[in-house]
């Protein structure tokens, strides 16, 4: 691995100085990136260090286990490495932000897979290990490395029960995740993206299954990986189709061809390319981003340690699908009808609503956050589908911060209350001593998620909502999303009102982060908290978060508020995120954006690489919100809807609550119809059961049937053939009676037959 680094960076530091490497690389990278922004298309190899630092971190963390380097060393390695990577990213961002729209830097490491793939001299398949840097990359990498660094810091405290081997394992996977995510985001070709794509899947698998003694965790990990693989099926086929049609998987060569609508030979594309390729890519995106039909893995993924849920299953990995679609947006606009985008919008809206309903009926606060993540991802997809890549990316950006905040708060609660996550068994946490910062941060997160006015979440959600009403034919998407916004506000504050405010009451959880202690792990004896998590609630003392958790949560809360500010930075380009997106391949002038007074931006058309006649066509039939300009009124509408949701939540769960277990909503459940719906939603609409019955079980049965067929029929046939000589021999053996006359008869018969044969043949 080190050798690889040396090869890539071309510096002596990579190969030789193990400990000094991160620092040296960071410095080299800093200088390099800063200097490069002037050069047009080459980028210094040092940007590769953004990905390779976490990889090095993973290697170092892995080494601590066999070397028995105790303590929190892995965490510090991780935090340091990620901080350096973040620093590099910032430098990279400064380099990239100077580029003109549509321009990108390419840092070419080495040729990962390359060979002559055809007879012609130019027929080469090349999938380099190289990075394609434009503003979209930069946007994603900023929050990937930044959040990664913060959450690693948080995890250093959160995971302290596991100091020992598990600790190192956690941080190896954590680092590996950041590496994979960096590859995914920064890849300059689809195959390297696929590497990252599968890599994050692996890390997700390893981290969900971190508490591997819990059967649920193992099952959840397996489920996550496999469902993701199903999505990857589409992605891989999409990559193959793209190579088949365009003859390249490298962005730098691919995007011009996509823009021109020409295939590898310079001829116009067949019509099917316009929908097959996007459809296949969407399949991958749905899998990774837990959209309709594929979302089932994400709630279960909450079995993983909470920092993982925050980083991977809320902020970064699950937005990879959004990134993919944004990155490959030119492919989505190849088709005149763009019905794949319509599909994306529809599924996004349905997913958003669907999972919001489930979230309303859950009791596990982490699961509620999980379903809320799916729901918010639905928003993002709907945003993509209704042609506002900016809105989608902005929502990704804001969501990353506030959802991370929410998760980390939930994690802090879980950490402090011995794994207790049931909102019926916790109450008034904010009022417990030492939980102030957490409570405040939770409030900030909830406000964001609920779309409370002037929070970042409010603006980003609003962008999508408004555009949904503008884009022709997507109004129903807008209504669904609007409804979902209300539900979101309700379930978010349901959590807040029940857990963080109200009477102080808590019951500790049943386990210590899933460690049953039936093996050689005995963590409790190692860090001086023996008994701290005693299971008898009588003597239970919540374990208040210490500096690392508090500071990270606080910082994130602040950031999630601050994210709103980016909306106002570049008003001509729909905010900072809009500028970033607008300069990248995802640039797309959503229809009607220039109608909006606040966002009027005629320039955006200039960035549109491939709109061709579509913009005009759409402009003819722009939608409205009940006759109003959606961009103008949506602020008020969504604020109203959010407020209603919060109000309902207060009425049902906040007002007049005496104990943790009861709330005003309980009365509602006595209504049989409500109870029925509640049970359905609580059981997640039985989707898992349906999947099991329709897919898993039949395949499993098929496996058994095949195995039987294999053993009885196929192998039976083989054995029958094998037994044939024996059977024949057995038959023939009867003739070998040992009787002289018998032999004579047989021989005479043989002679007679031969004679007859001759007579027959000669006549």
């Amino acid at each position: 691995m080190l050798a690889t680094m040396g090869l890539i960076t071309g510096t002596a530091a990579g190969g030789a100085a193990l400990a000094a490497a991160p620092g040296a690389e960071a410095l080299a990278g800093a200088g390099g990136v800063a200097g490069v922004s002037v050069s047009a298309h080459g980028a210094p190899l040092a940007v590769l260090a953004i990905a390779l630092l976490p990889l090095l971190g993973a290697a170092l963390c892995a080494l601590t286990a066999p070397l028995r380097l105790g303590g929190k060393l892995p965490a510090w390695i991780t935090v340091g490495g990620l901080a350096a990577a973040f620093g590099l990213t910032v430098l990279m961002h400064s380099g990239v932000s100077g580029l003109a729209a549509g321009e990108a830097l390419v840092a070419h490491g080495y040729e990962w897979i390359a060979f002559q793939s055809g007879a012609g001299p130019g027929d080469r398949f090349v999938a380099p290990f190289g990075f394609y840097l434009d503003s979209l990359t930069s946007l994603w990498m900023l929050f990937v490395t930044g959040l990664g660094c913060l959450i690693a810091l948080y995890a250093s405290e959160y995971m302290e029960h596991d100091v020992g081997l598990g600790y190192a394992r956690f941080f190896v996977a954590f680092n590996l995740f950041v590496f994979s995510m960096a590859c995914l985001v920064m890849a300059d070709n689809l195959l390297l993206l696929f590497l990252g794509w599968e890599g994050v899947g692996l890390c997700s698998y390893l981290l969900i299954g971190y508490f591997y003694k819990k059967p649920e965790a193992v099952a959840a990990a397996k489920k996550a990986f496999i469902v993701n693989r199903v999505g990857d099926f589409g992605l891989l086929l999409g990559i193959l189709t793209i190579f088949g049609v365009f003859g390249t998987v490298e962005y730098a060569a691919l995007f011009p061809k996509l823009a021109a609508g020409r295939d590898a030979l310079g001829e116009p594309l067949a019509a099917w390319v316009g929908w097959v390729v996007p459809l296949l890519l969407v399949c991958g995106a749905f899998g990774k981003s837990a959209q309709l039909f594929f979302y089932v893995w994400l709630p279960d993924a909450m079995e993983g340690p909470t920092p993982v849920s925050a980083l991977i299953h809320a902020a970064t990995m699950v937005t990879a699908g959004v990134y993919l679609i944004a990155r490959m947006f030119p492919a989505f606009t190849l088709d005149e009808q763009q019905w794949v985008l319509g599909l994306v919008a529809a599924s996004g809206a349905v997913t958003a609503l669907w999972s919001a309903t489930i979230a309303m009926a859950q009791h596990d606060i982490k699961r509620i956050m999980g379903y809320s993540t799916i729901s918010q991802l639905g928003y993002m997809f709907a945003g993509l589908g209704v042609l506002t890549t900016t809105g989608a990316a902005f929502h990704v950006f804001t969501h990353a911060f506030f959802k991370a905040t929410l998760f980390l708060c939930c994690g802090a609660v879980m950490h402090g209350f011995a794994g207790q996550l049931d909102l019926r068994r916790l109450s008034g946490v904010w009022w417990v001593k030492g939980w102030g910062i957490i409570g405040a941060a939770m409030l900030v997160g909830c406000l964001n998620l609920a779309g409370f006015p002037f929070t970042a979440g409010f603006f980003s959600k609003d962008t999508i909502l408004a555009q949904a009403f503008v884009t022709p034919g997507a109004a129903w998407v807008g209504w669904v999303l609007l409804l979902t916004a209300g539900l979101t506000a309700y379930y978010t504050f349901r959590v807040f009102f029940r857990v963080f405010v109200g009477p102080v009451e808590y019951h500790p959880g049943q386990d210590d982060h899933g460690h049953q202690g039936d093996d050689g792990h005995a963590h409790s004896s190692q860090h001086g908290h023996a008994g701290g998590h005693g299971h008898a609630s009588g003597q239970f003392h919540p374990h208040a978060p210490r500096w690392a958790i508090n500071s990270v949560v606080g910082a994130l809360a602040v950031l999630s508020i601050a994210a709103a500010a980016t909306y106002f930075v570049y008003p001509q380009e729909h905010g900072w995120v809009g500028k970033m997106v607008g300069h990248s391949t995802a640039a797309f002038a959503a229809p009607g954006e220039h109608h909006s007074g606040a966002h009027a931006d005629p320039h955006s058309d200039a960035h549109s690489t491939d709109l061709r006649s579509n913009g005009a066509a759409h402009a003819a039939a722009l939608g409205t919100f009940l006759g109003f300009d959606p961009h103008a009124v949506m602020y008020y509408v969504s604020a109203l809807v959010g407020a209603v949701g919060i109000g309902v939540a207060y009425l049902l769960h906040g007002a007049g609550r005496r104990t943790a277990a009861t709330a005003g909503a309980d009365g509602l459940l006595r209504n049989p119809l409500v109870a029925l719906v509640h049970r359905g939603a609580h059981r997640k609409w039985y989707v898992d059961e349906v999947y099991h019955a329709l897919i898993t079980l039949p395949l499993w049965v098929l496996g058994h049937v095949l195995h039987l067929v294999d053993r009885l029929l196929v192998d039976g046939l083989v054995n029958a053939v094998g037994a044939a000589p024996k059977l024949t021999g057995g038959r023939l053996r009867v003739q070998q009676s040992g009787v002289l006359n018998g032999y004579a008869v047989a021989m005479a018969g043989g002679i007679a037959l031969v004679v007859l044969l001759v007579v027959f043949m000669t006549n």
């Binding site: 053996r733 070998q736 040992g738 002289l740 006359n741 008869v745 002679i751 007579v759 000669t762």
Partner: protein
């Protein structure tokens, strides 16, 4: 059968002058009959001596055919062959009788089917 074969094969029906009344067919027929009798006897009889005599019958059937052909072809090759056949037959007879005596001394029977220990 032999008649038909010979007719088809040799295309001529009669011996040269001295024995013109009797054709080659007749000899061949007798020879074939002898051979068939020998075979049938060999497979049906159990007495070793009779069985051996049946093989002698087959040998002599061949001898008869040889002589007939020898006459037919008007040279003595076949006749000479028969002399050798007789010699060999005699040698076989000697061996057969020795064998039969040996076997009889062991089992006090001449029934060939009694020897069926080896089989399968």
């Amino acid at each position: 059968m032999a008649q038909a074969l010979a007719a088809a094969a040799l295309g001529q029906g009669a011996f040269p002058e001295p024995v013109s009344g009797v054709t080659l067919y007749h000899y061949l027929f007798v020879s074939a009959a002898l051979f068939a009798l020998g075979v049938i006897g060999f497979v049906t009889r159990r007495n070793l001596i009779i069985m051996f005599l049946c093989t002698e019958l087959m040998f002599q059937a061949a001898g008869l055919a040889l002589i007939a052909f020898s006459r037919y072809h008007l040279h003595h090759t076949g006749s000479a062959f028969v002399i050798f056949v007789l010699t060999v037959a005699a040698a076989e007879a000697a061996m057969a009788l020795a064998l039969v005596v040996l076997l009889f001394r062991r089992r006090q029977t001449l029934d060939g089917t009694q020897w069926r220990q080896l089989r399968g």
